[in-house]
C-alpha cells in the first residue's frame, strides 16, 4: 500500500521531464508525459479511495525534512476520508483539464512549459492535500500559489497578464502572512505541527487565552482566525477577493483547474482539515460563516451585471466559495466539502465551456457580442446548459444536493447566525440561477451580435476539448448522487463517509421544515432562471431600462463596488507615495548613496597609503608573518 506515493510524485516526475527535456526534445509531444502521469495519479487515487472505503487509513512519515531543536518536520502523508475525496477531485479535474489543454493550447509556443507548470501545480496541490503536518501543507500551499502565478502570467508578454499574476501573488501574501503566523501559534501552543497530535490535544486548550497587546484573546479563536486568513487569501473571500477575477488573464484551462476546481478550494479544505480547531471557537466559526455569506452575496450581485464571460464565472466561483465557507461556518463541514466536490465538476465544466466558446470566438469574451451560438457548437451548449442547471440547483443535478444540504444545515444547525446566513444563501441561490442563465441566454440564444468575420469563424471545438467536457458533464450531473439526503430516500453516503473526520452538526429541524427549505431554494432557483429567460430572451429591452433607472446601483455593481479603486486609494497609492518620496528620495538618495559612495572613497584614500606596504618583496611579507607569529606567541605567554 505504498503506491500512494505515486500520486504526488508522478506529476513531479512529469514536471521535471517536461521542464528539462520539453524545449528541445518533447516539444509538441510534451502533453503525453503530463497526461500519462496525471492519469496514473488518478488511477492510484481511485485505488486509494477504494482502500479508504475499506476502512484503511494512512499516516506515514517518509523523510525527515527539518530538525531544529524540538522542531521536527518530515515529509509525510496522511490519507483519510477527506484527503481521499480531495485526491479524487484534484486528479480527476487535473486529468480532464490536461486532456482539454491539448486542444486548447494547440500550437502555443510555450506548450511544454504550460504542461510542465500544470504538472507542477498538480504535484503541489497533491502535496497540500496529502500532507500530515502544517508545514508540508504550507509548502503545497505556496507551491500552488507559485504555479498560479506562473500560469496567470503565462502570457507574460501581455502586461495585463503579468500584472494579474503579480496581483494574485501579492494579495495572497496578505493571507499567507496570517496563515504563517497561525502555524507558528500552533507550534507554540502544541509543540508540534503534526495534524494528529495537534487535533488530539486541541480540546485541552479550549478555554486557554493568550495575552496579546494587553488583551486576553481566546487562544483557539486566535489560531483559527489566523489560519482563516490564509483561507481568505487563497479562496478569494472578502476582502482579499480582488485577485481572482483578474486571474482570468491566464489560459482558460488554468482558470478551470486552479481558479475554480482545486486551488481556490484549498481554503475550504484548510478549514475542514482544521475543523477540530475551528469547532472550539464559536467566534471564529461565526466569522467564517459571515465572511462566506457576505462574500457570496457580494460576488453574486457583481456577477449580475458583468459582460466578460470568464469574469462572470469567476465571480460565480467566489460566490460559491463563499457558500462553502458559509457551510463550514455553521459547522457543516461535510456539506462544505460536499459542495466543494460537486462544485469542482460543474465549475470546471463551466470554465471549459467558456474556453470552448472563446476558442470559437477567437478570444472574444464580451457577452454582448455573442448570441445564437447554440447551432454552431451544440456539444458546448448542451454541456454548459447542464452545468448551469447544476449550479442553479435544479433538483436531480449535483449542485442541488450540496446546496440544499448547506441551506438545510444552516437553517437547522446550532449556529447563532444560522438563520441569517440561510436567508442570504437562499437569495444567493436565486441570484446564481439568474446570472448563470443570463450567461447561457446571452451566449447561446438569440441572434449573433458579433462581427461578420467572427460569425464565419464559429465552429465546434475539437475532440480533445469536447470529450473532457462530456466527461465533466457526467460529473456535474451525477457527482451529487452520492449524497442524496435521507429525506429524498437516499442514504446521505457522503456525509456518513466524512463523519469520522469532520463530524456532523446536530440538526433540530422537522421533516416539514426540511421540505420547506428545499422547496424555497428550488423555487429561488427556478425563479432566477425564469427571470433571466424573461429579461434576456422575451423582453431584451428591460435590462437596459433597469440599468438606466438604477444607474447608480448598476454603476456600483458594474465597477465591482469600487473595491479595487478603494484598495488603490488606501494601500497602493500611499505605498507608492512612501516609496517614491521617502524611500527613494531620502533613504536611498541621501543616506544609502552617501554610504555607498563614501565607503569606497574612504577605502580609496586608505588603500593609497596601505599599498605602500605591498613591496612585492617576498621576504618583507615573510618577516611580517613571522612578526605576527611572534606577537601571537608572546600574547599567549604573557596574557
Amino acid at each position: 500500500m505504498n503506491n500512494y506515493l505515486l500520486i504526488p510524485f508522478l506529476p513531479l516526475a512529469a514536471f521535471l521531464i517536461n521542464i528539462l527535456l520539453g524545449r528541445n526534445f518533447l516539444k509538441e509531444k510534451a502533453h503525453w508525459v503530463s497526461i500519462l502521469a496525471v492519469a496514473g495519479s488518478w488511477v492510484v487515487a481511485v485505488m486509494t479511495l477504494v482502500d479508504i472505503l475499506a476502512g484503511h487509513k494512512i499516516n506515514q512519515d517518509l523523510y525527515t525534512w527539518i530538525v531544529s531543536g524540538n522542531f521536527k518536520v518530515s515529509v509525510g502523508f496522511l490519507i483519510d476520508e477527506l484527503t481521499a475525496v480531495m485526491l479524487i477531485v484534484v486528479t480527476t479535474c487535473s486529468t480532464l483539464i490536461h486532456i482539454y489543454s491539448v486542444g486548447y493550447m494547440h500550437g502555443d509556443k510555450g506548450y511544454y512549459r504550460f504542461f510542465a507548470y500544470l504538472s507542477l501545480f498538480t504535484f503541489c496541490m497533491l502535496m497540500l492535500v496529502m500532507a500530515n503536518n502544517f508545514l508540508q501543507l504550507y509548502f503545497g500551499w505556496e507551491g500552488v500559489g507559485l504555479c498560479s502565478y506562473f500560469l496567470i502570467g503565462y502570457y507574460f508578454d501581455k502586461k495585463s497578464a503579468s500584472d494579474a499574476g503579480k496581483k494574485a501573488f501579492i494579495v495572497n501574501r496578505f493571507g499567507d502572512f496570517g496563515f504563517g503566523l497561525g502555524i507558528i501559534m500552533i507550534f507554540l501552543t502544541f509543540g508540534t505541527i503534526y495534524y494528529e497530535p495537534v487535533f488530539a490535544q486541541a480540546g485541552g486548550f479550549a478555554n486557554n487565552t493568550v495575552n496579546f497587546l494587553g488583551y486576553d484573546v481566546h487562544l483557539m479563536t486566535l489560531i483559527a482566525l489566523l489560519l482563516f486568513c490564509g483561507s481568505i487569501g487563497k479562496s478569494a473571500q472578502m476582502p482579499l477577493h480582488v485577485w481572482l477575477p483578474d486571474a482570468m488573464e491566464g489560459p482558460t484551462p488554468v482558470s478551470a483547474l486552479i481558479h475554480a476546481a482545486t486551488m481556490v478550494t484549498a481554503g475550504v479544505f484548510l478549514v475542514a482539515r482544521c475543523s477540530p480547531i475551528f469547532s472550539l471557537s464559536e467566534t471564529a466559526l461565526m466569522v467564517v460563516a459571515l465572511t462566506g455569506a457576505i462574500t457570496s452575496l457580494f460576488a453574486a450581485t457583481i456577477g449580475l451585471v458583468q459582460n466578460d464571460i470568464k469574469r462572470i464565472i469567476a465571480y460565480s466561483t467566489i460566490s460559491q466559495l463563499g457558500y462553502m465557507f458559509l457551510a463550514c461556518g455553521v459547522g457543516a463541514y461535510t456539506a462544505g466539502v460536499f459542495h466543494l466536490y460537486t462544485h469542482a465538476f460543474f465549475k470546471a465544466l463551466l470554465f471549459l465551456c467558456a474556453g470552448s466558446v472563446m476558442h470559437a470566438m477567437a478570444g472574444e469574451l464580451n457577452l454582448q457580442k455573442m448570441g445564437g451560438l447554440k447551432k454552431y457548437m451544440p456539444v458546448t451548449y448542451l454541456t454548459m446548459l447542464l452545468a448551469s442547471l447544476s449550479i442553479a440547483g435544479v433538483p436531480g443535478f449535483a449542485g442541488f444536493f450540496s446546496k440544499d444540504e448547506i441551506l438545510w444545515l444552516a437553517y437547522s444547525g446550532p449556529s447563532p447566525v444560522g438563520k441569517f446566513v440561510w436567508l442570504i444563501g437562499t437569495i444567493v441561490a436565486f441570484l446564481t440561477a439568474f446570472y448563470s442563465f443570463r450567461l447561457i441566454f446571452l451566449t447561446f440564444h438569440g441572434k449573433f451580435r458579433g462581427t461578420h468575420e467572427q460569425e464565419h469563424h464559429l465552429h465546434e471545438s475539437p475532440k480533445f476539448m469536447t470529450i473532457p467536457l462530456m466527461l465533466l458533464c457526467v460529473g456535474a450531473i451525477a457527482s451529487g448522487w452520492v449524497g442524496i439526503p435521507h429525506l429524498l430516500g437516499g442514504g446521505a453516503h457522503f456525509t456518513e463517509f466524512m463523519k469520522p473526520v469532520l463530524g456532523h452538526p446536530e440538526g433540530h429541524g422537522t421533516h416539514a421544515e426540511e421540505w420547506m427549505v428545499m422547496a424555497i431554494s428550488v423555487i429561488a432557483g427556478f425563479s432566477g432562471i425564469g427571470l433571466a429567460y424573461f429579461m434576456y430572451l422575451k423582453r431584451a429591452d428591460i435590462p437596459v431600462k433597469i440599468a438606466q433607472q438604477f444607474s447608480g446601483v448598476h454603476r456600483l455593481l458594474f465597477n465591482k463596488y469600487y473595491v479595487d479603486e478603494l484598495y488603490s486609494f488606501l494601500i497602493v497609492r500611499p505605498a507608492i507615495w512612501t516609496a517614491k518620496n521617502i524611500l527613494i528620495g531620502i533613504t536611498d538618495a541621501k543616506i544609502i548613496e552617501a554610504i555607498v559612495n563614501g565607503v569606497p572613497k574612504a577605502i580609496g584614500i586608505f588603500s593609497e597609503q596601505l599599498r605602500k606596504f605591498q613591496t612585492g618583496r617576498l621576504q618583507h611579507y615573510a618577516s611580517i608573518m613571522a612578526l605576527g607569529i611572534l606577537i601571537i606567541i608572546a600574547l599567549m605567554l604573557w596574557r
Binding site: L610, F613, Q614, G616, R617, L618, Q619, A622, S623, A626
Partner: protein
C-alpha cells in the same frame, strides 16, 4: 639520559636558523633550503617527543611531513625553474612585480 629540553632547544635553534635564512637570503633556492631546515627542526622535536612520550604518533607526523616536503620540493623547484626561465634570475628581491 638526555633531558627532552635539550632536544627541544636544538630543534628550536635549527628552526630559528631556518627562519633567519628564509628571511635574509636572496637566492630563492637557499630560501627553499631554509624551509627544509625549518621542517627538519620541527621533525627533531616531534621525534624526541615521540621518544620521550613513548607515543608513535609523533613519528607518524614526521612521516607525513617528509611526504609533504617531497611534494613541496617537487612543486617548488618546478616553480623555480619556470621562474628562472622567465626572469633569468634566482634572486627574490629582483622579482617584485607584484607591488602596490
Amino acid at each position: 639520559m638526555v633531558p627532552l629540553n635539550w632536544y627541544l632547544m636544538l630543534s628550536a635553534a635549527v628552526f630559528m636558523i631556518g627562519v633567519f635564512g628564509f628571511l635574509t637570503r636572496r637566492n630563492i633556492i637557499i630560501m627553499f633550503m631554509s624551509v627544509e631546515l625549518m621542517l627538519n627542526g620541527v621533525n627533531i622535536s616531534l621525534i624526541s617527543f615521540s621518544h620521550y612520550l613513548q607515543d608513535l604518533r609523533g613519528q607518524i607526523l614526521v612521516f607525513f611531513i617528509i611526504t609533504v616536503a617531497a611534494a613541496e620540493a617537487a612543486i617548488g623547484l618546478a616553480i623555480i625553474i619556470a621562474l628562472f626561465r622567465n626572469k633569468s634570475t634566482a634572486h627574490v628581491d629582483e622579482m617584485n612585480e607584484m607591488k602596490g
